[in-house]
Structures are given as structure tokens and as C-alpha cells.
Symmetry: C2
Subunit: 213 residues, 2 copies
Amino acid sequence: MKLYFSPLACSMATRIALYEADLPAEFVEVDPGTKLMRDGADFRLVYELGLVPVLQPDDGGDVLTENAAVLQYVADQRPEALLAPTDARRRADLHQWLCYIGTELHKGIFIPLLNPEAHEAVKSSARSKVASRLSWVAKRLEGRDYLLNEFSVADAYLFTVLNWATAADVDMTPWPAIGTYVARVSARKAVARALNEEAALYAAEVARHLAKT
Amino acid sequence: MKLYFSPLACSMATRIALYEADLPAEFVEVDPGTKLMRDGADFRLVYELGLVPVLQPDDGGDVLTENAAVLQYVADQRPEALLAPTDARRRADLHQWLCYIGTELHKGIFIPLLNPEAHEAVKSSARSKVASRLSWVAKRLEGRDYLLNEFSVADAYLFTVLNWATAADVDMTPWPAIGTYVARVSARKAVARALNEEAALYAAEVARHLAKT
């Protein structure tokens, strides 16, 4: 498999899933600003909308886009890693959480708060939803180690999104269950490895941008 | 099953899926403004965030939320209706489209454009994405009857979202493939029935609101 990613972007969830499942993959870095890959080629020739993650499966078929789809595809390549439940009702719970993280947290809160060009009204609208959306997550995590019974790709996605909290100036101290969860997930070997690698790549990306200005 | 819905909201996709699958269900109407059900009870006691659709499965277990999860759950209750592919690679395509419709179209474009209280900057940001996001859909539909090979729950969701275009002042004439698609989907018996019923319920909801002002 080949994963097109940007450092610390939502595509990090897929890197976590690949490491958790111990699946080999090639990682192709995309600059989120220029949409160019490190070799200078235009990522929009791979996916017209220029959004990561994009996964090129080994079967040579079409690329796969959208986090929830890519994550479940990776999970299903190594069922024994138990990254996605196979029981229908629990799979529905997985869909629910992937969808909630994608729409309510990622798109609803973090994208506007992380966009330096977003109008203050856009940010303010996003900020007004922080308390209800994070309370709901905290409630789910009370008395649980992970969103489902075991660590799943939904945790890989949630952890990746919550990792943006500082940059987005979202204070998570009102929800200690979330803080404990983030510590628990980041202690996993695959997660720590993914985060360390992407943090280093992110620092290098920022340095390249600064060198150009 | 019991479906909590608001007329013409994204929950209509689930009504379409239920009719397509010929599955019996009880429909409970939620006023999107007051969050009250028709009997006056507070819907937020069913789902704290007050978002439809919510599905109460017959197994008496927890309610299921989030469109992509609810739609796939309904599809899986009647596999012979073929509303969701079972082949893993095609299921990934379904995930991809459900996720794209949910994040890029529903949340990214229509929610801000349909919200009368949204700041002009919020609407303008949403409007700037209309062309690229709808072009991508139109490209997919060229030479195809549906998003996947057959009608699926992704079409139920896409049709429901595109049905908001007039209210959101989104002109779809630059993409004739989308217009043809909407006509094709709306000619399906289950879709026409769902749309007619919800349009009538929506008109009644508007009348009730007007009577109160």
C-alpha cells in the first residue's frame, strides 16, 4: 500500500493503523500548502481535491480517499489486529464514532479553528460547539479505555484530532477523561512511533516554509 | 426499528433506505428548532446533542446515531435489498462516498448555507467550495446511474443532500450529470414516496412555526 499524507494531518490516523497492524506501506509526503509532493509532482494529479489521506491499495485499483474509508480498509487487511469489529452491531458503533469524529470534531470544530484565514465569525461558530461535542466524547470515555471495547481505528482517528487541541487553542482540562485517554493512547508503541515521526516531519515542513519566506 | 427524524433533514436518507428495503419502522418527528417531539417530550433525552437521525434498533440496545452508521445498519438488516455492497473493496467505496457526502457536502457546504444565522463569512467560505465539491460528484456520475454500480444508501444520502440545493441557493445547472442523476433517483418508487411524505410533514412544520409567531 502507498499512503499519501501530510505530517500531523488527519492522515496520521492511517499511519497509526498501519503500525498497529504491522502492515508494510510506502509513505508519500504532501505539502498541505502547495499540494506538491517532495519530488515536486502535483498531488492533485493523484486526487483532484488535494485532500489527504489517499491510499493506493496494492491491487492496482482506484485510490481510496476519506479517512473513515481508508482506516477501515487498512483494518480489514489485517483482521487479527482487531482494529475494527466484525460483529455487525459493533461495526455500526465503529461507523458511528468514525462519522462523529469526522463531522462534529474534525470538520465542525478543528478545521475552522486551525485555519489562519478563517473569519472570526467562522471560528466563533466552531468554538460555540466545543463544549457539547467534547462533553459527549468524555461521557463515552468514562469507565472505558477506548471508544469501543478494544483499541480500534476510531481511537487512531480521535487521538489524531485531539492532538490538534493546543494548536487550535482548545482547552481540554474541563474533561479529565479525555486527558487520561490521550495519555493512554499515546503510550501505545505504534502510536508513539507515528507521533514522533510525524512531529519530526512537521518540524521539517515548517522549516522549509520559513526558509522560503 | 424506530427512527427519530426531522422532515427533509438528512434523516430522510434513512426513510428512503427503509422504504427501499421494505423494512417496517416507527417514525418519530423531531422539531429541529425546539428539539421537541410531537408529543412534547424532549428529544435531547434520547440523544443529548439533539441531532437526527437516531435509530432505536429492535434489539433494545443503545440507540445508533450518525447518518453513515444508521444507513449501513439499515442496509445490513435486509442484505437482499443490496443497499450496501458486501465485497470488502466495494464496501470501502461506500464508506468513501458516505464520508465524502457527510463531510464535504453536508457539513462543508449545506449546513452553513442553510443556517439563517450563519455569518456571511461562513457562507462565503462554504460557497467557495461548491464548484470543486460538486464537480467531483458530477465526474463520478458521468456514465454511471448511481455512485456505486447499483443504487445504495450512498445515493439515498446524496439525493437527500442535493434536495437542499434550491433552499441553499446552490445552482446545479453547471453539472447536468447531477441534474440527470437527481431525476433518475427521484423516479424510484421508494424515493418518491419518502420525498412526498416528508415534504408534506415539512409544510406542516413550517405552518406550525408560523402559527406561533
